[in-house]
Symmetry: C2
Subunit: 216 residues, 2 copies
């Protein structure tokens, strides 16, 4: 088994890999709230264990075994989030920190039974897909609201930022998962976006648009 720190590094490398081929030391340091030198130390250990491909100064990628571990942790994280929201009635902005701890409970048998107990959900409370026990993700083709043009429309499906502040803001604006929206206008000056929902118009900043994903 791997240590808690190792698991967190693998998970972070996985997440950063979605946006960039190679993950850099500084990116990891920023995400993990640690120092670049600490990251370097850990990268050597993970490389020795053959969980990552690491070339000094060139960043890292996950090996197949490394990715498997990372996806398994993400599966656990998302299933526990689903449990906390659907069974224990937490709100979607309250569950991230708890799931950060729970994702490290080691038993896979436990997580598979939890999965069945909840009816094998496909998406977590933030709209992220839950990988199955083989690590397979349901394919879903989402687009960032910030990448749309006027008149395009779709359904809010997921968020890219899980901070309570962001989620509470969305909740207040009634921009929660499942809501149908259409791009009414894009402000040229600051790239703010005006969304048309069923009953009203809502203006959101570029920052917000850049963290909202819709299914077309």
């Amino acid at each position: 088994m791997n240590t808690l720190a190792e698991e967190n590094y693998l998970k972070s490398i996985y997440h950063l890999s979605l946006n960039a081929e190679n993950v850099s030391t500084n990116q990891l340091a920023a995400l993990l709230n640690t120092k670049a030198s600490s990251v370097t130390d850990m990268l050597k250990k993970l490389s020795d264990k053959e969980l990552i491909n690491y070339t000094p100064y060139q960043g890292v990628t996950l090996t197949v075994p490394g990715e498997k571990i990372a996806v398994n942790i993400i599966r656990k994280h998302r299933l526990w989030e689903y449990f906390l929201v659907e069974k224990l009635n937490f709100k979607w902005d309250e569950v991230h920190e708890m799931a950060e701890e729970m994702e490290h409970i080691s038993s896979n048998e436990l997580i598979d039974r939890l999965d069945k107990f909840m009816g094998c959900p496909e998406y977590d409370p933030h709209g992220d897909p839950i990988p199955d026990s083989n690590g397979a993700f349901k394919a879903n083709d989402l687009k960032l609201v910030s990448a749309l043009v006027v008149t395009e429309s779709g359904t809010i499906w997921a968020v890219r930022n899980h901070s309570p502040a962001f989620l509470q803001y969305l909740e207040k604006q009634e921009l929660t998962i499942g809501k149908k929206i259409r791009i009414a206008e894009i402000i040229e000056f600051d790239h703010s976006v005006i969304l048309q929902t069923e009953d009203k118009k809502i203006q959101i900043s570029r920052e917000v648009a850049n963290n909202l994903l819709i299914s077309i």
Copy 2:
């Protein structure tokens, strides 16, 4: 917050305190599967934090704050065991190790909601009482089968040993929680006990009798 190691020491001190006023270094070392010198080191740290009363060579007791932490961990352990058995259909001999990890999930809000979700159970799958969120235990007056005399009877209520081997043995002998028994005979030679159940007699060793608790 306290570290995982600290929590495990406090929990162990609590458990050992039930059988002896002062808990010794060696008792702790045996229970925690570590060396006496390591225990001494940790006792100093816990003493500095005023979670235990420690006098070198004299053993330790928990302070009020220390006991509070210990009981809270035990509450978490037992609620998670209940969850694993009642919701995820694990058997009573399968849940101890998982609960050992889960008891360290920090959120008390989570555990209180889990408690309500399950209907505030009073006993865990091994018959141990689950303390409430204030740390109060339901009083229950149990007796060891090994302490009974012939003709005494009662209901199997709890076990003092949680090892899979012991629990599986009990399962096989149909000596599970709720079963009514009467002491039919005590063999003088080795203190084996012959139990009369509704439909048959079962002979158990002194060792087994010493780990079975009944309610009279």
